[in-house]
Symmetry: C2
Subunit: 228 residues, 2 copies
Amino acid sequence: MSRKAFQRLTLDDRRRSLMEATLACVARDGLHGATVRRITEQAGVTVGLVRHYFGSKDELIKNAYAYLIGQLTSQASESSRQYEGGPAVQLGHFLRANMTRPNLSERNVSLWATFIGRVRSDTYFADIHREGYREFLTVLETLIEPVLAAHGLGHGAAACKRHAIALNGLIDGLWMEGSLNSGLYNQAMLPELALEAGERLLGLPAGALSQVPAPHEEQRLTSCAMPE
Amino acid sequence: MSRKAFQRLTLDDRRRSLMEATLACVARDGLHGATVRRITEQAGVTVGLVRHYFGSKDELIKNAYAYLIGQLTSQASESSRQYEGGPAVQLGHFLRANMTRPNLSERNVSLWATFIGRVRSDTYFADIHREGYREFLTVLETLIEPVLAAHGLGHGAAACKRHAIALNGLIDGLWMEGSLNSGLYNQAMLPELALEAGERLLGLPAGALSQVPAPHEEQRLTSCAMPE
DNA sequence: TATATTGTTATTCATTTGTATAACAGTGGG
DNA sequence: CCCACTGTTATACAAATGAATAACAATATA
């Protein structure tokens, strides 16, 4: 029997390929169904590579979680930097981005929840979760502060942190239930709902965030898909 | 070798015992580590009983999830009925209950998240999740409506549903991050934070919810720990 | 081109896991 | 008191799983 022909990848590419295969399996079958064999089959390699690149299955899973959180937080940070305009415009777009695809993602929520379930028992997962949460709060605080200032509202560090915690709760909850899309309401109503709720939460006048126009599809296309 | 002495339980007691052992294992080890052997060891019985009472491990897990959601929703509903007083008092207590123990529970969040991770792939989990979510929204809507009416705010069915969705998002998010207690802030600040955020979210005047006094510890103790 | 390096495959192994079945023991009816 | 019934234990078994190792091949280096 002849050996399978294979392609040699760089260290980073192979590691990423294995982590992405891991996330695909966890999203589909849960941690329970993410076996070494299924993961490597998904990645199109044989089981030996897990040991070679990560030492053990556990290490692969943990690295995949860190990789996922890195993707999610960078996705969120980029949502906040993507647009020009005043503070309210940026905060508005940030909220809207979290209530629309690709941030609103059934797959990502499933992965996120699956790993959250391990935070309590495993300090490794707890550490990564804490750092992701901290980063999200920081992004929110820096977005909130100038908006409050522009409206002559109290914007000390303590007040901003409280607002960030509450707004993060709102985003988390809406993002999760919205992504799961249980069919109890239309997903399309989420952005407006979140913007109005955000206004009220921060004590802003009606329309301060929600009247920020939604980005046109063409805008995004031209800024992302540049001819090469 | 002599056989182990055993106690014969009623059908309901034995089923409940096995489901609780299942939840204990899932909370500690995740779905991955919740094996039939560990579950039955936790329950103090042998592996054969899983087949006898639930037919298969999968059925046991699913029944345990339904059992958990039933507990969580009844816990929430009771929080809303526990206190006398006007609409604002009830809503305030409901929010406060969700931001304090026993509702604020690391164990319950871990379980909840672990199963949420299965909602996407398994319609059984999806159905149970949807019903739990629907019930929570209904409770919130019926709590919100009279409060809005009392303050002369718009309280049509559509408005109440939108408010319930937003408020549910806030509660979910704060409950989850608060229960995980990543150490980025003090859990004790959550009730006040949630009450103030709830006021703003609903457009209520400051203090409408947050000035509802916290229940005294003695009150709860005397009503729960009755001499027998 | 010759050779060392190491990424990758193929295969093996001990253990764990879910399920199945037979034997035992507690319970209630005649 | 005997006996049928069934909740429960004990044991067996095939499949799946994580880990380990040896053989092989693609690439780099000289």
